[in-house]
C-alpha cells in the first residue's frame, strides 16, 4: 500500500517543486492525510458473498495463536505467508473438461459512475488500461477464442469491436475510446447511465451465431450502482440462460442484488462469478482471473444435446512465407513483406491466429494449441508434508531450486506444533485467485480442499514423491505447469501429464 502511494506521488511533486519552497509542515499534513485515507479504505470486496479477512487482519489472530503454543513468532509468520501464497492455487486440479474455445463479450461501463476517482487517475482510465492488458493476456491464454467488446453509456449499449480473434483489433478499439487515432473523433468521456438489459441483449445477439462447442461468456465491468433498462431485465436473464450465456460481473462500488441474480441464474446458481474490486490492483487481478477457461458444467452438457457439445473443427496450419517484394495482406489490405498463407485459399494474412478473411478457415500455429494444454492437463496440487513424513523421506532441500529445508524438530515436539492451521480453512478464506470451481467437484480427497501451508515447509508431489519449497510450488503451478520431479525421472512421466502421447511437431 505504501509503495503505491509513493509512486503516485511523483506526479504531484512534479508540479509543486518549482514554486516557492513548500513549507515542510503543509507537505507533511498533505502526505500524512492522503496516506491515512488510503490505509483506512475499507476492503469491502468479497467473493461468494462473504468478506474474507484482509491480510493484515488475518495475521493477528493466527500469530497470537501460534504464540500461545510456542514463542516462535517468525516461524508462524513464515507459515502464514506460505498459507497465503498457497491459497492462490487452483483448488481443483482434476483434468476437467474446460471450454477451451471461448466466445467472450467484454462489456465496459462507460457511464458517469466511471468518473469516480477512487482508482487512479479515475475508474475509467484504470479500466481502459487494464482491459487492454486483459485482452492481451486473454488471447495469450486462449489463442483460439473469440472476443467482442461492448460499451454502456446513456442507457445504450454500443459495439466497440466486432467478434474476432485478433487481439490487436480489440486493443486499438479500446484505446480509441480514450485517445482516438482519427483526430476528428472526440474521445469518449463516460456519461449517462448504463443499461444491463441492453448490454445483455446485444451480447446475446453477438453470441447467437457462435457454434455450440464453444462457450458463450459475457464479462461485465460494472462501476455504476444502477441500471437504466427499457424493459424487464428478468426476461433478458431468462433468454440468456436459454442461450447458454454465462455472465460474470466485476463490480466497483458495492454488491447489487440484480447483479447477484444475473450471475447466479446464468451460472446455475454459482454466485462466485460476481466480484467487487475495491482498488485497481484488485480490478486487474479479477480481470486476469477470468482468462482461465471455465469448467464445462455437467448441467450444461445435459441440457443441450450431448453430441453438440463437442465437435471436430477444421483448422489450417499455415507456414510462414518471406517475400522480397511487399504484397497486400488479406486481413488489413496493407503492404507487407511476409506473413502466412492460408492453407486452403492461399490468401496472405499478417498475423496468427486469425480467421482467414476470404474462406473463414481458422488459421493458427501448433504452438497456439499447445498453449492451452496446461488447462487440459493441469498439474495436480502438491500435498503438505508433515514432520513425520519429512523425517521419513529425509529430504534436505528443494529438488528444483536446491534451497535447504528447515531441519525436522526433535521427535517429542512433533504433533501439536501448529495445531491451529486447520482452523484457518473455511469458506471465507478464498483468495482472489482461486478460480472457478464448480459444484460437482466435491471430492473426498484432500487434493481438492483448500491448499494450506505445510508445517515442514515442504510440499510433496503425489506422483514422484519429490519435495519442493513454497516458491517452486507456486512457480510450477502458476507459470510452469510441469512437475520438475516427475519429468526428471523416467517412469512417472506418462502418469504426470495424462498418458496422452501428443506429438505436435515431427
Amino acid at each position: 500500500m505504501d509503495s503505491d502511494y509513493d509512486q503516485e506521488s511523483d506526479d504531484v511533486s512534479d508540479d509543486e517543486y518549482l514554486g516557492a519552497k513548500p513549507t515542510a509542515a503543509s507537505k507533511a499534513t498533505e502526505a500524512g492525510g492522503s496516506r491515512a485515507q488510503k490505509a483506512s479504505k475499507p476492503h469491502a470486496w468479497a467473493r461468494r458473498g462473504s468478506t474474507p479477512p484482509d491480510n493484515e487482519d488475518e495475521y493477528i489472530p493466527e500469530e497470537t495463536q501460534g504464540l500461545e503454543e510456542e514463542a516462535v513468532p517468525e516461524k508462524s509468520i513464515q507459515h502464514m505467508e506460505e498459507d497465503r501464497k498457497r491459497k492462490r492455487l487452483r483448488k481443483d486440479t482434476k483434468p476437467f473438461q474446460r471450454g477451451i474455445i471461448r466466445h467472450v463479450v467484454l462489456v465496459l461501463d462507460l457511464s458517469e459512475a466511471m468518473l469516480e476517482k477512487d482508482m487512479r487517475p479515475n475508474r475509467y482510465a484504470a479500466m481502459i488500461k487494464y482491459s487492454q492488458e486483459y485482452v492481451r493476456e486473454f488471447f495469450e491464454q486462449n489463442p483460439i477464442s473469440q472476443m467482442s467488446v461492448l460499451g454502456m453509456h446513456d442507457g445504450l449499449c454500443i459495439r466497440v469491436s466486432e467478434l474476432s480473434g485478433n487481439p490487436a483489433e480489440h486493443i486499438t478499439a479500446i484505446q480509441d475510446l480514450r485517445t482516438p487515432r482519427n483526430p476528428d473523433d472526440i474521445p469518449k468521456e463516460p456519461k449517462g447511465s448504463p443499461s444491463l438489459q441492453n448490454a445483455l441483449e446485444l451480447a446475446r445477439a453477438t453470441l447467437y451465431h457462435t457454434p455450440s462447442h464453444g462457450t458463450r461468456e459475457v464479462i461485465v465491468v460494472f462501476g455504476s450502482l444502477l441500471s437504466l433498462d427499457p424493459g424487464d431485465v428478468h426476461q433478458t436473464i431468462k433468454a440468456c440462460v436459454r442461450d447458454r450465456v454465462r455472465v460474470s460481473i466485476i463490480g466497483m462500488s458495492a454488491r447489487l442484488k440484480i447483479c447477484t441474480e444475473i450471475v447466479s441464474r446464468t451460472n446455475s446458481g454459482d454466485e462466485s462469478e460476481y466480484v467487487v474490486a475495491t482498488d485497481q490492483e484488485l480490478l486487474r487481478e479479477l480481470l486476469l482471473a477470468t482468462t482461465t477457461p471455465p469448467v464445462v458444467r455437467a448441467t450444461n452438457a445435459s441440457r443441450t444435446a450431448p453430441e453438440s457439445a463437442a465437435a471436430l473443427m477444421m483448422m489450417g496450419f499455415p507456414s510462414r512465407v518471406i517475400e522480397d517484394l511487399p504484397s497486400m495482406c488479406a486481413c488489413h489490405g496493407a503492404l507487407t513483406t511476409g506473413g502466412y498463407t492460408c492453407s486452403r485459399c492461399s490468401a496472405k494474412v499478417c498475423s496468427l491466429p486469425v480467421t482467414c478473411p476470404s474462406c473463414q478457415l481458422t488459421l493458427l500455429l501448433s504452438t497456439h494449441l499447445a498453449r492451452s494444454y496446461h488447462h487440459l492437463f493441469p498439474l495436480r496440487n502438491w500435498a503438505e508434508v508433515s514432520w513425520h513424513r519429512a523425517r521419513e523421506v529425509n529430504s534436505k532441500e528443494c529438488i528444483s531450486c536446491l534451497s535447504p529445508f528447515p531441519e525436522p524438530p526433535p521427535l517429542q515436539d512433533d504433533g501439536p506444533l501448529f495445531p491451529t492451521t486447520d482452523s484457518q480453512a473455511g469458506p471465507n478464506g478464498h483468495g482472489v485467485s482461486d478460480i472457478r470451481t464448480s459444484k460437482n467437484t466435491a471430492q473426498p480427497e484432500d487434493e481438492d480442499a483448500e491448499q494450506k501451508a505445510s508445517e515442514s515447509s515442504r510440499y510433496e508431489c503425489r506422483v514422484c514423491e519429490s519435495h519442493f519449497c513454497i516458491d517452486c510450488d507456486m512457480f510450477c503451478h502458476m507459470v510452469l505447469h510441469n512437475c520438475p520431479g516427475c519429468l526428471s525421472k523416467v517412469n512417472p512421466v506418462e502418469v504426470q501429464n495424462g498418458d496422452v502421447d501428443m506429438a505436435g511437431a515431427s
Binding site: D2, S3, D6, Q7, S9, D10, S13, D14, E16, Y17, K21, P22, A24, A25, K27, A28, A31
Partner: protein, 470 residues
C-alpha cells in the same frame, strides 16, 4: 564496470605500453583487469577474439554489432587499444583493419580461464598448520576498525568530534592522506578538503581504490625503488584471493613484502605480527575486483548472505518533510551525516535530524555537491525506503538540488575550445565526430566554434583535415 573501478581504469589507461606488457604477464592481473576494468561490450569483444585463430577484420566486427551500437563499439575499441589489449593492424590492400588480442594478454587470459600454467599468481596458500586460523569475523572487525578510524581521522576533526572510533592511524597513512589532498593542515589543525569529502561519501570499494591509487603515485614519487608493475599486480592478486584463507609470503617479491606493511595499516590485509610468514586478505582486499559493497557499513557483523547482493543494508529514512532518521550508533556515520544534516536528537540506536536549507548550503560551501549527498542517501536508504522507486522522495532530491543551485549559477567543465575552422565541412565533420564520441559539450554553429571535454580522439581527425588541406 562500476563507478568505483573507473578511477583505477583511468590510472591504468595512462600507463605506457611497456608497463602494460609487463603487467599482462600475470594471469591474475589480466583476469582482474578483464573482470573489473573493461566495459561490458569490450568483454564480449575480448572473449570473441580469445580463441579465434586468425585476426578479426573490422568488416566482420561491424557486421557483428548493430548499427545503433556503433558508438559503444568505438568506445570499447578505444579503451581496449589504449590498454594495449587489442592490436589493430591495417590490412594490406583493403581499407579494413584487423583486430587481434595482444599475445601476452591472450596467453595470460587463456591460462586464467583454463587454470593452466605454473605461475602461482592466484596466491600460494600457506601450508596448513596447527595454529588456530583467524576467523572471518575477526578479519572483518579488523578491516572495519582500521578503515573507520581512517575515515574518522578525516571527518571527525572537521565536524568537531573528538576521540576516535578504532584507534589512531599510522603516521605513514596520515602523510598519504595529506599527499593525496584528502586533508589539509590549517593552523596545525587537520581539515578535510573537497576531494576528501568526495572520498568520504563514496562507497567503501571506491574509497579503497582511490586510496590505493594515491598510494601508487606516492610510492612512485618517493622513489623507494618499488616497481609500479609489482605493486599493481600484487593489488590485482589480492583481489582474487579468498577470504579466510592464509597465504604464504614466501613467493612475494621484496616490493610486495614491503607493501604488506602499508596495506596492513589500511586494513586491507591482516598479519598477525610484523614479518609474519603468512598474511590474510580482508574483505576490503577480496572485493577490490568486484562490485559488491566491501564493508556493509551499518552491520559489519551481519553475514552478507549470498544471493542478496541487490539488497544492500541501509539505515537512513528520509521523509518527504525533509526529516531524516538514521538507525545507527556509529560515530563515523553520524559524523558523515552531520556534514549535511541538522541533527537534533540522538538515541542509543537512532539519530534524527532534518535536511535544511542552511545545512545543505553549508555542505555545498565546504565542497560537497548535491548529487553526492543524494547518492549517499540513496546508497544507504533503509530497506523500507527501498520499496519505493526512487528510494529517496523526489521532492527531497529536487529540493536538495535547488538548494545547491542557489549557490551556483555557473557550471564549469574543463576542456578544449575548437574554433577558426577552415570550412563549414571541416567544422561539421568534427562536430559529428565529437558527438559520436560523446565528448561534445557545446557548439556554436554561427561562429563555427565547439567545446569538447576530451580531445585525444579528435586529434586524428584534425590531423587528417590538416593533411587534406596541404
Amino acid at each position: 564496470m562500476s563507478a568505483s573501478s573507473s578511477q583505477a581504469l583511468e590510472y591504468l589507461e595512462q600507463l605506457p605500453l611497456q608497463t602494460h606488457k609487463k603487467l599482462y604477464e600475470q594471469p591474475s592481473t589480466v583476469l582482474a583487469i578483464f573482470r573489473c576494468m573493461l566495459p561490458h561490450l569490450a568483454k564480449s569483444i575480448v572473449m570473441a577474439l580469445l580463441y579465434i585463430p586468425q585476426p578479426l577484420s573490422s568488416f566482420d566486427l561491424d557486421a557483428w554489432f548493430r548499427p545503433s551500437a556503433s558508438r559503444l563499439k568505438k568506445d570499447s575499441l578505444y579503451i581496449l587499444e589504449k590498454l594495449h589489449i587489442v592490436e589493430a593492424k591495417p590490412r594490406d590492400t583493403s581499407r579494413f583493419t584487423d583486430y587481434s588480442l595482444a599475445p601476452g594478454f591472450s596467453k595470460s587470459l587463456r591460462q586464467a580461464l583454463e587454470g593452466s600454467g605454473r605461475h602461482g599468481s592466484f596466491g600460494v596458500p600457506a601450508p596448513p598448520t596447527e595454529k588456530r586460523k583467524v576467523t572471518i569475523q575477526e578479519l572483518d572487525d579488523y578491516a572495519q576498525g582500521q578503515w573507520e578510524s581512517l575515515l574518522f581521522y578525516m571527518v571527525g576533526s572537521t565536524v568537531g568530534f573528538h576521540g576516535s572510533v578504532g584507534g589512531d592511524i599510522g603516521e605513514g597513512t596520515k602523510k598519504l592522506l595529506q599527499g593525496g589532498g584528502f586533508v589539509a593542515k590549517n593552523h596545525g589543525k587537520i581539515g578535510i578538503t573537497r576531494t576528501g569529502f568526495m572520498f568520504v561519501l563514496q562507497d567503501t570499494n571506491a574509497q579503497v581504490w582511490s586510496l590505493l591509487i594515491e598510494y601508487l603515485k606516492y610510492v612512485d614519487n618517493l622513489g623507494l625503488g618499488m616497481s609500479e608493475t609489482d605493486v599493481l599486480s600484487f593489488l590485482f592478486m589480492l583481489g582474487s584471493l579468498e577470504l579466510g584463507q592464509d597465504y604464504s609470503t614466501s613467493t612475494l617479491s621484496p616490493t610486495q613484502t614491503q607493501m604488506l606493511d602499508d596495506l596492513t595499516a589500511f586494513g586491507i590485509v591482516y598479519m598477525s605480527h610484523k614479518g609474519a610468514k603468512t598474511f590474510y586478505p580482508t574483505r576490503l582486499a577480496v572485493t577490490l575486483t568486484s562490485d559488491s559493497g566491501a564493508l556493509s557499513t551499518t552491520n559489519p557483523n551481519e553475514v552478507v548472505a549470498p544471493g542478496t547482493g541487490a539488497t544492500k543494508k541501509g539505515f537512513i529514512i528520509v521523509e518527504t518533510n525533509y526529516r531524516l532518521y538514521a538507525y545507527t550508533n556509529s560515530l563515523l556515520q553520524i559524523a558523515v551525516l552531520s556534514l549535511f544534516t541538522k541533527l537534533t536528537t540522538r538515541f542509543p540506536n537512532l539519530v534524527s535530524g532534518k535536511l535544511t536549507r542552511a545545512s545543505i548550503a553549508r555542505a555545498v560551501q565546504t565542497g560537497i555537491s548535491a548529487s553526492q549527498i543524494i547518492s549517499y542517501l540513496d546508497a544507504h536508504a533503509h530497506p523500507q525506503m527501498q520499496k519505493a522507486v526512487p528510494f529517496i522522495p523526489p521532492t527531497v532530491t529536487d529540493q536538495i538540488r535547488l538548494w545547491e543551485l542557489e549557490g551556483e549559477r555557473v557550471e564549469t567543465t574543463n576542456g578544449y575550445m575548437l574554433k577558426e575552422f577552415q570550412s563549414e565541412k571541416d567544422y561539421r565533420e568534427i562536430v559529428k565526430y565529437a558527438e559520436d564520441l560523446g565528448v561534445l559539450v557545446w557548439r556554436g554553429d554561427a561562429e563555427k566554434k565547439l567545446f569538447v571535454d576530451r580531445i585525444e580522439q579528435l586529434q586524428d581527425v584534425l590531423k587528417r583535415q590538416a593533411a587534406r588541406r596541404r
